[in-house]
Structure formats: structure tokens, C-alpha cells
Amino acid sequence: MSTRPFAQRYFGRGHSSSGTRRNPVTKTGDSVLRGLSTAAGLVAVLVLVGVIYQLVDNGQPALSRFGLGFLGHTTWQPNFKQFGAGALIFGTAVTSAIAGFIAAPLGIGIGLYLSMMAPRGVRRIVGPLVEMLAAIPSVILGFWGVLVLAPFVTKHLEPWLHNTLGFIPIFGAPQSTGLSVLTAGLILAIMVLPIIASLSRDLFLTVPSELTQGAEALGATRWEVIRGVVLPTTLSGVAASVVLGMGRALGEAIAVAQVIGDGNGIHTSVFDPGATLTSRIALQFPETTPHTLYSGSLFYLALILLVINLATTLLARGIARRFDVERSYAKAVAV
């Protein structure tokens, strides 16, 4: 993968240039292609810089007015020019936590099944089917969530959870619409599941077979191989896959905006409507006019999302590099 021709590498530049005549056209071709591809790479960086600039610039009214106190305030009353991201950060955390709580065990289970247990033929069918979940557009998932999942949640799931686990305050009295933090969490779980599943499958496949076979030779059952060898060697990688999945959940806007009910404030019960950083932007930005405190506050929310994205990406990358699974990481990121 050297960028120099073979002959140059082994015989030095002088020998090569005397042996093969280089005409100026090919030299230009080389530098043109190199220049073009470098410029293309720069576009991605420029876009990123542009995003940061636009968010800071348009968020200026709110940034200068509220400062970091914005993060802690929980009131959001556009009519009284009171804005705070506290309740929205809380809503984002709760919906993502619900999604992670459901999707992490399922996804890791699927990863184990696909990497160690399923027969070859099953693997080739089940794997792609699970990944196909990630292909469903979020607006369709949200539309389905509003018209199919929400009625089911309010008719069956909420009463059942309230009756069996009602002593825990988060399962409060059932609501009538089904548009709630819980429904949003369920929709997010569907989106996050294929990410965690395919990432953790790739991770489990990186465990050296000497280790697993050694454990098997010592008489370990399959579970003992998983518990004693596979999970300990991949633990932080599995954590990274969950972090990446949650990162996706944090940034999902449309489906959440459709099913969460756009409520204000912080509620204990997950059956109440809520709002996340993204859903608030999606639902209220069309009402605003540019360069006002209102629109500035929404840009501020986007800036918070950007910082969260930076944190989850760096965290997941750091862990992935330790595992030398950068390539499967890149693949899964691009699911």
C-alpha cells in the first residue's frame, strides 16, 4: 500500500526515472487525482465546521442570554420568553435509557446467537433480517407507532404494567392517548436493536478461536465459554456498541416527535407525554422566526445534541480502536 511505485521503492528514484520515461501528463494526472480526492475529503471537514458555526451563530441570542444555566432550567414557555433544556435533557435520557434497557440485552443475545450458536444457514437469513430493521425509515416507524403501537400501549401494556409493577412510581396511572415517553422508548428500541446486534456479533467473532476452543476442551459448556471467555474479552466493546446505539437513539427526531406527545416539565411516570431535545426542535422550530430568542434556544438545543454526539462518537471510537475492530465499527456505523 505504498504510494510509490514498486520500482522506486526498491531501486530508488533515479533508477526508476531513467528506466521508465515519465511524461508530464501522467505526473499531472497523479497530482490532479490526489488534489481532487484531498479536496473531497476536506468537504466533510468543512461541513462539520459549517455546522458548528451555524449552530453557534444562530443560537447566539439564547447562548448570550442564558449561558450554561440553560442546561439546568426546566421551564419552557415561549410566550413568556422562558427557555431551559433541563426537562428535554431529562426526556432524552429517559427515552434513550428505555431503549437501551430493552435493546441491549436483546441485541447482545442476537449477537451471541449469530456468532456462536446458529447454524450457518440460519445465520445467513436471520442476520440480514435483523439488520433490515435498521432500514425502515423513521417516519414510517413513527406513523406506525402513532396508529398501531400507541393504541396497543394504552389499551394493554400500560394497564398491565400499572397493575403488576404499579408500586414503582414510574409506572403511574395509564393515560388515554398512548402518546408517551414509554411509547417513544419502545420505538427507539426497535431502531437501536439492529445496531447493537450487528456490532456485538462482529465483536464476538473477533474472539480468538484458540481461547474458545481451549475453554471447550477443558469441558466448559457453551454458556461457560460465553461467560468465562467471550464476554470478558469483549466487555468494553459491547459497552461501546450500546453507547453507539444509544447515540443513535439520542439523535432520532421524527419518530420520537410523532409518538412522545410533546409534554412539558419532568414527570415521574413514563406513561405521561414528554419531550426530547430532538422532538422539541422538530415540533416547535417551524413556529419560530430567525434571530429571535425562541429560535436561538432551539439552535442551542441542537448544539447540545452536537456535543453529545461528539462525546458518544469519541467514546465508542476509543473503545473500538482498543479492539482493533475499527472496520466492523465503520461498517456498523454505516448500517
Partner: protein, 308 residues
């Protein structure tokens, strides 16, 4: 081995004729292990069940859309007519976005795999930028384009929406092209080098052609993803009237499928749902078919490469 006295006892410690079934502790361990296996396979089948429930939920309500009339007529009123305007609008925007994102994305992939040395800071920084761009919530992309294009132009347009979609596609295409280019055997590069071929001719004449099917797969998958994206269009290409028939990208908002579905679910008017289910079914069908088709092609080309 002729008699039992070799064992030092008169009796064998076990009955060699009894079936080999584990007992006691081993039995418990094996049962537990089996239970874990069953649970793991259940997890996979739960995921597939969810997929089936969602796809069936959309298909059963939207199957009426597979009529020619629905696909080639513009909408009339709240519930009458078809979705031709939104279909064409989405196709136009995705195509325009792809025209921008594909060359830039593929060139970025070429830079990462052919020109940047593996350990270089620049390449690592670029990869980080691509990852960040990929992880960027799509609604933030929408806000970015709103600030960049919509505010200065004082209008929403299909052009702004297409640029937003291009930004969504770019990191997907770049990373997948890079992945595919890295799987091109090094022997091809060395062979071209040994013949004294210049770098750019090697890339364009040898490496790109042998990676073409993989790059095309990445492009199709990311285009399919962009076709279903709603958040980047929300502020850049808002359609306040789903019946609008504007198809000029540089005019005003262009109707599109994702926003048609979103508007219907916001309206909460049951009559509008039928059309939205139909649109959702058409979109979902297109995206799933694109996924399945590319997967089949990719498997076939992998097999060919493995067999060669």
C-alpha cells in the same frame, strides 16, 4: 482389560451399558447452557417478529397503493387522488443529492484508501470527521441547511432539501467506498506498479473497476436511506400543502413522500391516513427491495471473489 481386577476393585465404578447422560452438577450446567441458547435464539426471533409486525402493519393498510392510478395521479383534496407529485419530488431530490454526494464521497474513499498513509494524522482526523458527520442527528443537518441556505434565500426549496440529503449520504458513501477499496487485493496495485503504471491510472483503470460493485452497493443503500429521511427536509423543504405540484428544485418547497406521511400523522384526520399508508407502503417496499437486491448482488460477488 480381561477382568475387572485391573481397576483395583471387584466392581466397575460405572455401568458401561448405561446410556451416557450427564447427571448431577454437569446436568445442571448443561441445562443452564441450553436455556441461555434458547433465550439468545428467542431474542433473534423477537427482532424478526417485530420486523414482520411493522412491515405487515404497513403492508396491510397500504397495499391499496399498488394501483397505477395511485402512483401516477396528483392528490385531490384531503383523501382523493394519488401521490405522483410526492414520488417525483422525492426522486428528484434524492437524485440531485446523490449527484453531489457520490463523487465527493467516492473521492473521499479513494483518498483514505489510496493516498493517505494509514497512520497519518490527516487521515485519522478525516475519519473522525466522517464519523461525527455520520452520527450527527439528521435534524441538526436540517437546522444547518436552514441557516446556510434557507435564511439567506428567504424561502424553502427542493434545492435546500437535496443539499441536506447529500450531507446525510456523504459519510455513508465515503466510509463504504473506503471499506470496499481496502478489500481490493494489494497484488493488483503491486502488479500495476511493477508495470510502471502511474498511480492515477492504477486507481481509475484497475482499482475502481474491481471495486465497482461494492461501491455501487454503498451508493444504493445510502440513497435508499436518504429517500426515507424526514428530519433534514422538515425545515428546508417544508410542504404546507401536500397537494402542491411544484417540481422545480430551485423554486419553492417540493412535495415528498416522508413529509407527506408526517403531515398526515400530524393532521389526525382519518381520511388522510389511507393516502399516507399507501405512500408509506410504496416507500418501505422500495427501500426493502433495494436492501435485499444489493445484499444478493454483494453475496454473489463475494462468492465469485472467494472462488476465484
Amino acid at each position: 482389560m480381561s477382568d475387572g481386577t485391573l481397576m483395583g476393585t471387584d466392581e466397575l465404578p460405572y455401568d458401561p451399558t448405561s446410556p451416557l447422560t450427564p447427571t448431577g452438577n454437569l446436568r445442571r450446567r448443561m441445562i443452564f447452557s441450553r436455556a441461555v441458547s434458547v433465550a439468545a435464539s428467542m431474542a433473534a426471533y423477537i427482532a424478526i417478529a417485530v420486523l414482520i409486525v411493522v412491515v405487515w402493519g404497513v403492508a396491510s393498510r397500504g397495499a391499496h397503493a399498488l394501483r397505477l392510478n395511485f402512483l401516477i395521479h396528483n392528490p385531490e383534496g384531503l383523501a382523493e387522488g394519488g401521490i405522483a407529485n410526492a414520488l417525483i419530488g422525492t426522486a428528484l431530490m434524492v437524485l440531485f443529492g446523490a449527484l453531489i454526494a457520490v463523487p465527493i464521497g467516492v473521492l473521499t474513499g479513494i483518498y483514505l484508501s489510496e493516498f493517505a498513509s494509514k497512520k497519518s494524522r490527516v487521515a485519522n482526523g478525516l475519519k473522525l470527521a466522517l464519523d461525527l458527520l455520520q452520527g450527527l442527528p439528521t435534524i441538526v443537518v436540517g437546522l444547518f441547511i436552514f441557516g446556510l441556505i434557507v435564511i439567506p434565500q428567504h424561502k424553502e426549496s427542493g434545492f435546500a432539501g437535496a443539499i441536506a440529503l447529500a450531507i446525510v449520504m456523504l459519510p455513508l458513501i465515503a466510509r463504504s467506498s473506503q471499506e470496499v477499496l481496502l478489500t481490493v487485493p494489494g497484488a493488483l496495485r503491486e502488479g500495476a506498479d511493477a508495470l510502471g503504471v502511474n498511480r492515477w491510472r492504477t486507481v481509475l483503470g484497475v482499482i475502481l473497476p474491481s471495486a465497482m460493485s461494492g461501491i455501487a452497493t454503498g451508493v444504493i443503500l445510502s440513497t435508499a436511506r436518504a429517500a426515507g429521511e424526514t428530519a433534514p427536509l422538515l425545515f428546508c423543504d417544508g410542504i404546507f400543502n401536500p397537494n402542491a405540484t411544484e417540481l422545480n428544485l430551485f423554486g419553492h418547497g417540493v412535495p415528498n413522500i416522508p413529509l407527506l406521511i408526517l403531515t398526515a400523522s400530524d393532521l389526525a384526520i382519518p381520511e388522510a391516513f389511507a393516502r399516507a399508508w399507501g405512500a408509506a407502503f410504496v416507500l418501505l417496499l422500495g427501500i426493502l427491495l433495494a436492501n435485499i437486491a444489493t445484499r444478493i448482488v454483494l453475496n454473489r460477488s463475494l462468492k465469485k471473489r472467494g472462488g476465484a
